[in-house]
Symmetry: C2
Subunit: 167 residues, 2 copies
DNA sequence: TTTTATTTTCAGAAACTTTTGAAAGTTATA
DNA sequence: TATAACTTTCAAAAGTTTCTGAAAATAAAA
């Protein structure tokens, strides 16, 4: 296999992985391309490599910047914008953990807090409702804590925890 | 707020959470309904409560069974099938962790192993490729380990780990 | 066996998401 | 200022996923 084959294989698979995670394929593929590139790339280079339209590349680059995974760079004498991605897998993980906490955990937490305040009767249905929602609330609280911790931790802490986990 | 309002709010939000996670909305809503129900439900009851077609309920119930989250039950004297869900949040987490490991982590692991075998030259591009893919491979390996451990661990282990994480 | 109850399947419709490409907007240079 | 280089936006097209409902298949009861 040549580098080009391996590279496109990696980009494709990263795209599939992304779409299993609610991140759209184009966004994941652009990030994969930037991960593999030793230098920062322009919109036109990305369009050319991934055969995507300008609009699509622009939209998804902005989404990646939004997620804190991709950054802009200006080169002296060049008018174009150059893009590069965070390459440290640990930092990417932190960034994604924080983003998912905000987008996925917080809304459920909030909903459960609203629900918590409701006065309920004593029917079997109501007791079950109370029981299940309280348990989920406690669990979500713990998850939120873990993700917050990960988002603010450093690499060594994480590696140590992994070690202990696997002991 | 009445029970019914709270209940539908919970079901809606669970559906949104699910779709952020690549689990489809109907599937997540059916599971939410079963979570809140003190008794097992028939296809017709689910159709009625969630205003979904028979085909849709049937398809998604089967997907939930596939994921190991929902079970069938037969009641004496009844011809219909009754469905109930796992309610222990810890067991649900284990189940989902294992399922996601299989569906998301393993394919990437496999792709990276294939890529690992490729003989590469000394160009900057090739060196970068090697570096990035090896780092991801090592990280994915650790993640796989953690998810495997979670899938086979018991609740106390997990709680203890959470405690230590948060120390 | 026939009838009835129930579950499963699947083609087409509806809903939703992604992508394109051209036009509008912005910024830098001459 | 005008022109050129570039980025952003957005309506429409293409693609994908989900949902419906009726027909086919299966299983139980008469």
């Amino acid at each position: 296999m040549k580098l080009t084959d391996a590279k496109y294989k990696f980009i494709q698979e990263w795209g599939v992985l992304g779409s299993n995670w609610g991140i759209n394929r184009a966004m994941a593929q652009i990030q994969a391309l930037l991960l593999l590139s030793p230098k920062s790339l322009t919109t036109d280079e990305i369009m050319e490599e991934l055969k995507m339209s300008r609009g699509n590349v622009n939209m998804n680059i902005r989404a990646l910047i939004d997620w804190g995974l991709v950054f802009k760079e200006y080169k002296p004498g060049e008018r174009k914008e150059f893009f590069y991605t965070e390459k440290d897998v640990w930092k990417i993980t932190k960034q994604v953990a924080e983003e998912r906490r905000k987008r996925e955990i917080l809304p459920v937490k909030q909903m459960l807090e609203e629900i918590e305040g409701i006065e309920l009767g004593k029917s079997e249905e109501e007791k079950e409702f109370k029981k299940v929602t309280s348990e989920i609330q406690s669990f979500i609280g713990k998850m939120d804590g873990v993700l917050t911790k990960i988002a603010s931790a450093d690499k060594n802490w994480f590696l140590k925890v992994l070690m202990r986990l696997m002991n």
